[in-house]
Amino acid sequence: MTETPDLTHFVEKLDDGRARLNLAVEGMTCAACMFEIEGGLGALPNVTHARANLTSGRVAIEWQADDVDPAAVVGRLAALGYKAYPYDARRMESDEQQEARFLLRCLGVAAFAAMNVMLLSVSVWSGNASDITPEQRDFFHWLSALIALPAVAYAGQPFFRSAIRALLSGRLNMDVPITLGVVLALTLSVFETLHHAEHAYFDSAVMLLTFLLAGRWLDQNMRRRTRAVAANLAALKAETATKFVTESEISEVPVAAIRPGDLVLVRPGERIAVDGEVEDGRSEIDQSLVTGETAHVSAERGTLVYAGTLNVNGTLRVRVGAADRGTLLDEVTRLLDRAVEARSHYVRLAERAARLYAPVVHLTAILTMIGWVLLGASWHFAVVTAIAVLIITCPCALGLAIPAVQVVASGALFRGGVLLSSGDAIERLASVDTIVFDKTGTLTLPEPELVDAGRIAPETLALAARLALASRHPLAAAIARAAGATAPLDGACEEPGQGVSALVDGEELRLGRPSWCGLEAEAGRVAASDPEASVIAFRHGTTTAVFAVRQRLREDATAVLAGLRARGFAVEILSGDRDAAVSHVARQLGVSEVRSGATPADKIARIEALRAGGRKVLMVGDGINDAPALAAADVSLSPVTAAHLTQSASDAVFLGDRLQPVATALAVTRRARRVMTENLWLAVVYNAVAVPVAIAGYATPLVAALAMSGSSVLVILNALRAKQGTGDAPWKS
């Protein structure tokens, strides 16, 4: 039943006739792995290029077209001990890569210009204090202009574009005063140079750009790194489907290559990768990832099935549908669209600061000019002083105040297992006061587990687990996992819809439905004591056992929720599952605010009611039915096991089996916001000192250079504090 996967969908044809495949590799963590992989792949015939990227955890392989089977490459990596998954590089990232390189080029140009202009400026400053002649000074100023003007025209593009975009859409962002400051500084400097003046501000303009570009590049770099990890995770769990190529022939293809109308085979224990209609077969479907409902529903010819659901016990043939989607998914998509549209246009802290800042600064400059004219100074002096005010207030520190903290905080979150997908999520997470959890897959682990393993004799459990290895049923898999079984029993065969059996020493072993094993009475007792659990029975001659399997709470859920409540957060459970299952979990966790049987629309309604009451809501969920609620909440998190649709609706993804990352995210972001506010105040204090100096007409280029770099360094050093206290004890502060 193992067919080779068809990876041709992911192979990229290069212009020179070669082909390239990008793979995300699991477990490539050290330099030795990197060399082993490159060596192993390079030894394959006709492979012309094999390059591992340790930072992003990917490998690029190129070969002469048609000479290499992509499956052989994956097979080779598997032989080396690495799991590799194809990664569709065309779809994403090329834009991002382009942008990163452009920013780095801008930074290079700006840094080059800053160094050379500074060299000339220092000569002028020292010359002004000693014996420079006006001709020499003019020559140096013209030389500075020659370097600074083209450099700013090139390196300033990211700011100019963003400022123009903001102005066109009627907004003000930090790039507007930056652009204005830089352009005015250059214009004034050229004008002053023409009039053989003592001062020119070419150095201020390029230095400002260099500092800001460095901050912007760091910010982008951090985000790119986070996104690369998230994209790898997506590739690792990228689903494949078994497609009927002809009537009787099957092939495993990536879901991206499946078209509506195709017929796919879904075996027991497999997750259904597509939406469609059952054409043939009979089975039970676990829809918990889609609806949150843990009870199974039956499927037969004509039943609509959804991507993300789990086929429990029968083989199904599913006709892929796209146009005639199921009512549930239609509903979710419609709600999601509306929620995304209505998502309150959150005004970033930086944007709010810019809105206050820009008018104040521009007004101050104008008042300075008018004031000097009224006091009887020349128009020339008044204008020069007004522009000096604009240059010295040009928001270098302000421009760095927030990105610098974002870099540090997203790095800390990354180490804490939280991958951010949007930059302003940090600020929104920091303002949360109410947390709404989904139950299935969020508070509980997504895979079912055996409960009360200690109640059963170890040798019975071990034998049952070996028998369970023969089945792909999720409940059987839970038993196999619980005992850590690795050696399957010989000659085990599966009875569809009943269970698995095998002969050991002439005696029959059975694992499956209680009725099939003749243990209905005992199974009834176990089921009564634990209403959420699914029961599975085992008989070996006279030895019998009944196992209860259910989704277990995340190991640290109780502690984390208690910690959150102690910190003053209001905690709620909002689940699509039935009442008995939800209230049992709520009792264990000590949560009193509970809603069960909620449809996607109910979930949105609850979130909106909370928000209408003035609460800032964090929604944590993993199901497809949670996606609209995730988008409707102020900010949202989902575990990495969540469905694709759900992950893309949430602001961040957390990794691992523990709930701690949720608490870490809240702790880190609160600290980050505090540091952001401090940084903004630092910038205000800097302006409070520097602006009177500029208004008085003492803001020479030397003063501007010192003030600007001083405040930038101060802000960056302060930003580093956002990292402190995020280690093992994130609640200590």
Partner: protein, 64 residues
């Protein structure tokens, strides 16, 4: 102060040389994998695996 006539062009061309070197390193993808590059530097020459050895020359197709 005639010394400026050749000192200034010299300073500028040195600066441009540095900028050119930076642009070249950027173009050949030397900033794409900073973690990996740190290790490649200390790899013993006699242990270079075939594929890694081939990759000494800059290529037009950097790793993703």
């Amino acid at each position: 102060m005639e010394v400026l006539i050749y000192l200034v062009p010299l300073a500028l061309s040195l600066g441009l040389l540095g900028l050119g070197a930076f642009m070249w390193s950027l173009k050949t993808g030397q900033y794409d994998d900073l973690d990996g590059a740190a290790w490649r530097a200390i790899l013993d020459d006699d242990q270079i695996p075939p594929a890694a050895g081939q990759k000494k020359a800059p290529t037009s197709s950097p790793a993703p």
